[in-house]
Every structure is written in C-alpha cells, then in structure tokens.
Amino acid sequence: MRTLDQTTQEVVDLAARHFNVAVGTLAPSDDFFKKLGIDSLQALELLSRLENHFGIELPDYEVQGVSDFRTLAERIQSRL
C-alpha cells in the first residue's frame, strides 16, 4: 500500500505530465490553480486522470476547497 508521501509524489508528477510542465517544478504545497493557471474544468480533467491512475472514485465535493497537491493526495489516500 502506498504511503501518503508516495501518493503525493505521484499526484504531483501526474499533474506535471498532464499540464505539460517540467516534472520537479511543482511542489506538494503549491496551489495548483494558481501555479498551473487552470480553471475548474481543467481541474476536473486532472481528477479523471488521478481516478484512472489510482483506480478510485473521488467525488468532486470531497475536493471542494482543496487547492494544494498534498491535501488532494490525502483525499486520494483515504480511498486507496
């Protein structure tokens, strides 16, 4: 079973690849909306990518108010 740190790293790496930014430029504490310059529909694209990758469903109401990768990873971790 993944640790939270592993999950967080996978989330960051997936986001970097999905939005085509260099892996390593994103940090777990980054606000992904501001750092990536994305809107809500693009955030839902990332959610699909994460759900497919981790094999989970993550209701979007569980990520309401979540804007950093670490907290997002915590939500994912609770579904693994």
């Binding site: 699909s48 497919n52 469903e57 209701p59 979007d60 109401y61 309401q64």
Partner: protein
C-alpha cells in the same frame, strides 16, 4: 436537409451517416443559439430518416461534449423579466428543449453520442437521448442541477431512470457529483469506452457496424428496446417549472454567475 451550418452546430450527411458536431465556445453551453440549431436538426430528422442508418453527435470544443445549460444567459434573461413573464419564458424554453430531445430520442436511425471531456446537465440530457454513448476515458458525467435548487429540466431524470439502476441515479442526482467514464461504463451509462481523443473514431466504427443491418428491422427493434417515457417527461417539466419559480434558484444562479471561485461547479 442533408447539411447545415448554424451558430452552435453543424451537420453533414455522408454514406448513410449524419455527423452532427456541436461547436459553440467555450463548452457548447445550451442556450438560445444552441436550442435554435437543435430545433433545425429535429425538424430535419423526418427527411433524413429514409437514407440514414446512424447519426453521431460529437463536439468540436476542446472542453467537452457540453457543460450543460447556459447559466449566464439563463440568469441574465430571467432577471430582465418580472416574475410571471420570467416563469413563462423558462417554461417555453424547457418545453422547446423537451420537443427537441423527444424528436432525437424517437428518430428511426440509431443515434450515437461521442463524448469527450465534460458531459454535464443539459449536455448529459442530450447524450441520453442517444441510443449509444461512446466516451473517451477522460470524459466526466454529472447532473449538478440540485446545486442550483433545480432538477434536470431537459428530460434527464426519466431517461436516466430508463437506462440505469435507481441506486446510482439517486447518488448522481442527490450529490450532484461528477463521475468518470470508467465508472459510467460500469453502471451502464456509457456503452463503449474509447482512448483519449478517440471517441469519434470509435463512434464511426460503431455506426459502420450498425449500417450493415436491415433498416426496417433496426427501426422496429429500436422502438421496442427504448420506449420514451412521455408521461414522466411531462411531469419533469412541471416539477422543474415549479422549482424555478422559487427565489432560492435565482439566488443560486446569481452566485454561480458572479463566482470567482476556482471551482464554481461545486456547492
């Protein structure tokens, strides 16, 4: 009419297949322009039926199939009118939408929704009028209407209940959450999954297969397989219009329209 190009969509007939492409930036929101063009298509269905085995509905907008009703247009249109006129205006729009949905649902040719990206609200209702939904793996489906104090108003609930188990229908409607294409296939909403960006290709292959069979048999089988819940659809109109008249709905629409929140789709 074998081809058409409007403000919000276009269609082209070729070799027995109609390809209808939704194309109104940013996400094929369903407002007056989209509805007017869909009404053109609904009116053309009878003339297309004799030579058409399948119709594929897809989107040229990157964001997805359709994000649903044009809430900004709905809100600004609603506040411009006093109460009774506002409610009558909404009823008129909803009844026109239902007429379009019923016409597509009842077409004798097979209809295939090729979905990518967001397929929310009215967009999902349009997809549900189709016989087959093909979705790429990144597609998402939702009925977020309860977040606005409404229910789906373009025929979504009766059609969703027609296709799926009620437990999932309750989860989707009562939480307003979105689900990914993989889950949507698992519950039977999506018939076929496609790779990212491949939903139209898969839909075309599906249409080619459908075209092989006898047209009369196909039309009769479709009508038998997919009854249209007219009574429940009429009931949905009444419930929607009753809910829309509540002040809470305009307040929720105002909040959505004025939101600077990063994720305005969430409650």
């Amino acid at each position: 009419m074998k081809s058409f190009s409007g403000k919000a969509l276009r269609w082209e007939w070729r070799d027995g297949v109609v390809e209808l492409t939704l194309d109104r930036a940013p996400a094929n929101e369903i407002g007056t322009a989209m509805l007017a063009d869909l009404e053109q298509f609904a009116a053309a269905i009878k003339s297309l039926e004799a030579d058409t085995s399948a119709c594929i509905i897809s989107s040229a907008q990157k964001r997805g199939f359709s994000a649903g009703a044009d809430l900004r247009e709905l809100y600004h249109g609603a506040i411009a009118l006093p109460g009774k006129e506002r409610n009558a205006g909404v009823r008129g729009f909803v009844e026109r939408s239902h007429a379009v949905a019923n016409a597509i649902d009842a077409a004798s040719f097979v209809t295939i929704a090729a979905v990518h990206g967001v397929c929310f609200g009215g967009g999902l209702e349009l997809a549900l009028t189709c016989d087959v939904i093909v979705a790429d793996k990144m597609a998402r489906f939702a009925f977020p209407e309860l977040r606005l104090g409404l229910i789906p108003g373009f025929g979504g609930i009766p059609r969703l209940k027609r296709d799926l188990g009620n437990a999932f229908v309750r989860d989707l409607l009562l939480t307003g959450r979105s689900v990914n294409a993989t889950r949507a296939q698992a519950v039977g909403l999506v018939a076929q999954l496609a790779g990212e960006g491949e939903s139209l290709k898969v839909a075309r292959a599906t249409a080619a297969q459908i075209a092989k069979f006898d047209a009369t048999t196909r039309a009769i089988a479709k009508k038998f397989l997919k009854p249209i819940p007219y009574a429940e659809l009429k009931q949905e109109i009444e419930i929607f219009c009753e809910l829309f008249a509540r002040p809470a709905v305009l307040a929720a629409l105002k909040k959505f329209v004025e939101s600077t929140d990063a994720m305005p789709y969430l409650p």
